[in-house]
Symmetry: C2
Subunit: 561 residues, 2 copies
Amino acid sequence: MGSQMKNTDYQAIAAEKKAQQCDKIPQDWRIPADKFYHSAAASVMDVPLACGLLSETEARITSDYDATALLGELKAGVWSAEQVVVAFCKRAAIAQQLTNCLTEIFFDEAIARAKKLDQEYGAKLSLSRGGKPLPPLFGLPISLKDCFQVRGHDTSTGVCCFVGEPAAEHSALAALLVDLGAVLYCKTNVPQSMMTGDSDNNVFGRTLNPRNRLLTAGGSTGGEGALLALRGSILGVGTDIAGSIRIPALCNGIYGFRPSVGLVPHSGVRDLGPSGTDGVHSSAGPMATSLRDCGLFLKAVMGADAWRYDSAAVAVPWVDNVQQQQQRQPGGRKLRIGVALTDGVFTPSPPVRRGLKQAVDLLRGDSSVEVIPINLPDVELISQDLISYVTLSGSDHYYEQFARTGEPPIPSLQAGGLLSVPGTTLQVYFELNARRAAAAKKYLALFRDNDLDAILMPPAAHTALPLDLWTKATYTGLWNYLDYPAVVMPVDRVRPDVDVADDVSNAKFGPDDEQLYSLYTGPEQYEDAPVSVQLVGYRHRDEALVKVAAALDSIINKKGI
Amino acid sequence: MGSQMKNTDYQAIAAEKKAQQCDKIPQDWRIPADKFYHSAAASVMDVPLACGLLSETEARITSDYDATALLGELKAGVWSAEQVVVAFCKRAAIAQQLTNCLTEIFFDEAIARAKKLDQEYGAKLSLSRGGKPLPPLFGLPISLKDCFQVRGHDTSTGVCCFVGEPAAEHSALAALLVDLGAVLYCKTNVPQSMMTGDSDNNVFGRTLNPRNRLLTAGGSTGGEGALLALRGSILGVGTDIAGSIRIPALCNGIYGFRPSVGLVPHSGVRDLGPSGTDGVHSSAGPMATSLRDCGLFLKAVMGADAWRYDSAAVAVPWVDNVQQQQQRQPGGRKLRIGVALTDGVFTPSPPVRRGLKQAVDLLRGDSSVEVIPINLPDVELISQDLISYVTLSGSDHYYEQFARTGEPPIPSLQAGGLLSVPGTTLQVYFELNARRAAAAKKYLALFRDNDLDAILMPPAAHTALPLDLWTKATYTGLWNYLDYPAVVMPVDRVRPDVDVADDVSNAKFGPDDEQLYSLYTGPEQYEDAPVSVQLVGYRHRDEALVKVAAALDSIINKKGI
């Protein structure tokens, strides 16, 4: 592609790219027309198993495990890498047809690599049977957000001017995951600019929410969210600068973990901002169907000398027995969980309030947890400053890239207002830094003076919204601003019987709050929308957060750790 | 002091402050006139023991140990905290009279605290004798560079307008060290602005080099360097943004470790730059008389939940058995040490060349080490960019602070040229960041592709220089720019028989190089100047560097680890 004369008309570029993409799905992996459910709103969650394309083995491989359990089976030789990779490629193809969640598709490469892994390590030969020592993520398929460079494939991020420029090198994380034995097989859809909560662009179009296609799949890692919800992937990687991992995790009812910046290599990720920009950085992190899979990913990456792959890595090691934790949690000490019911800017909608209350009630009923009510200071100011940080250079660089092929901004980008923020000066940048240093002190005091292990709160004031209405990210962006790790965990879904809309007068934080609050019209429009909570740890103590989250998840969702 | 009407004449302020400082030294701790050596150039290294002020016990306590050994004696109850603290206060008072190395003196407070520690934990009662568990740094006196806030004392950093403003709170590190059981007893001198290699200012005057008072004691942590060389301190803390720990370590023949930024808490350190400035940050780190004392300090701080004290901390834990290290160094693997003979900008002077060669020869002769010759790329450009980073806002903020009391810039500040660098723009700042990201990739490749454990190189092109001539910091600043940990270790001193000056034509890197090279006039002017090497590790792998440095130090300096 790269050597051809480049097309400069965005519609022609997109049409050609979509046709190429479509060709990557084998004919016999296409869903028969009569098996395709046509009701626009209805959930398509049952289609992968109902459509008849998956063999019984493929159905089991893709349905019955989380990544941790599947990896165990791969290592034990219960399934070969090829069997696993073929099954997920097929199910990803199905998910793509249902929700338009993929961008780059390289199933052939993935299956070839899986075969090679099987040969190299002995197909279905476990370590105990005398095979070569297996790499930590042996044969595990992992999907990546489109912005991660994968050698030989585009990194267009849904911007037409970047189509047809295959990457010469793997991004740092792709290289690391491959070295750990993982198998890359597809990349997933994002919003144009990667700065909105709706994964829609002029190249690939919009990703739909598989639970309710009238609601957004979220963004900017929305393709990953839809793919994981449909189990077309068992472990995915997103990036998050204001909520881009956590918002789609919430929208699709999966787990999404935003690590502290730099703990997971981020080099070789396309960034539409100007080179060298600073202030608040995007963080790469896992999205999965279980909490422990987030831990699996982080442990594998943080334990793998990530600094060797990325000169910007922050080399906090994974330490299974953290001395400090032992010191800090002697036998009888309860986990101390701060609970923030709101962020003081937007009032949670009825299902969000109920979900959090339900989780807190379960924690209060558990003898190992102490719940401490807290308030989050200064979130409105912080939220404004976060916007200033992510638009330090204004919006010209976006327009310039769109203008190269004449593509228009997507609706959610226009609605979000990020394209009309002016750039700033070095002086104002320093003022932002000074305010953030003061906020960081205040939040450290909140954590330390309450001796908190984590903060539990909503991940947003609402569940997945109707399309192109997600314009606020105060609940998630706060933690990007402070660089605290945060994980979104599903706890329930909108229930027709209990989650009735109430009066907008419950929104107490002003006109913007009222407007957002009024979007919740009741359980009908929000049918099946997942309800999640967000758990926040302290900066760089990501391993501790994984462990606290596992403990709380086992209480809230009654799962074993 | 704070409540009085402030004086605005710098000379009056300084005179009053110096008089107050002088009063803090008890009459019977003053060196008798006949014991004071008057030759300006001569070493005063033997005066502390020769002057007759120290009792035999005080002489032993302050002479016979490094911090690690002394701490062992304190914990075993061989010496009480009071005995140790009194001894170091007295010897610090002597060092002050010889070299003018102190700023704030609070011996009374320190002795009172030591008594309290003895009472609380049982004087001379070891843990094994059933006492209360001892804190990690029980009773150990630690001196701090003047810029660290200590409650109740000024943080003037030698700038007249800040005199008479006692700190309301401890800096993060002071608070942490006190919580660990250490005893703070004095702060140490710095250059006006803390941006030169000569610790001279209009409040306290100049710190002299105890080995040769016609040579600089270095800066900006020069007071600490002189104090440690005279054993008026056993463990000190400096800060380093271009070499400010390592330069005085080199000048005074002690060990100085610049950690990766944020591993040691830096909040509550006076910074003369504008609030919120960014790009290259100062790092706090230990200065000591042994390599293992640097490790003692780092282990204590990194193992102490430093994040609880400082919202800007980078929470890399100290891990005694780093899994990765075990993986990377199986039985037979040699330590791989890259050796850079120059930085490609300034040619090392004859004693510096000899010192490095001597060290490298010892390493080559050791079966556990493999020496790999390397070149350091782009140091000249990096060095220019570092200056741009540390002067992002130009020099107005310095002049404004000096102007408040009418004080003139010190000679080394005028010579260094930092006061005539203009400020820059956000755009140029981003360009600096982009260039640095590219350099970081290049240096990562150097480390990774050569499979290096560390880089050995000179800490400067020269030894301690005559006063006010230290204007270049390319050898040290490189690692601030890249944020790699680096430690300076003494290996020898200038020797009259071998370190003869040679022709300036040996300086091959241009006129600036020739000019600097010509400063070495031969061993007479540089009598007793320490010769040191610098060992550099990879970013955030400070613990690994401590261990590699210990191994090399034991080979080069024939000491046990």
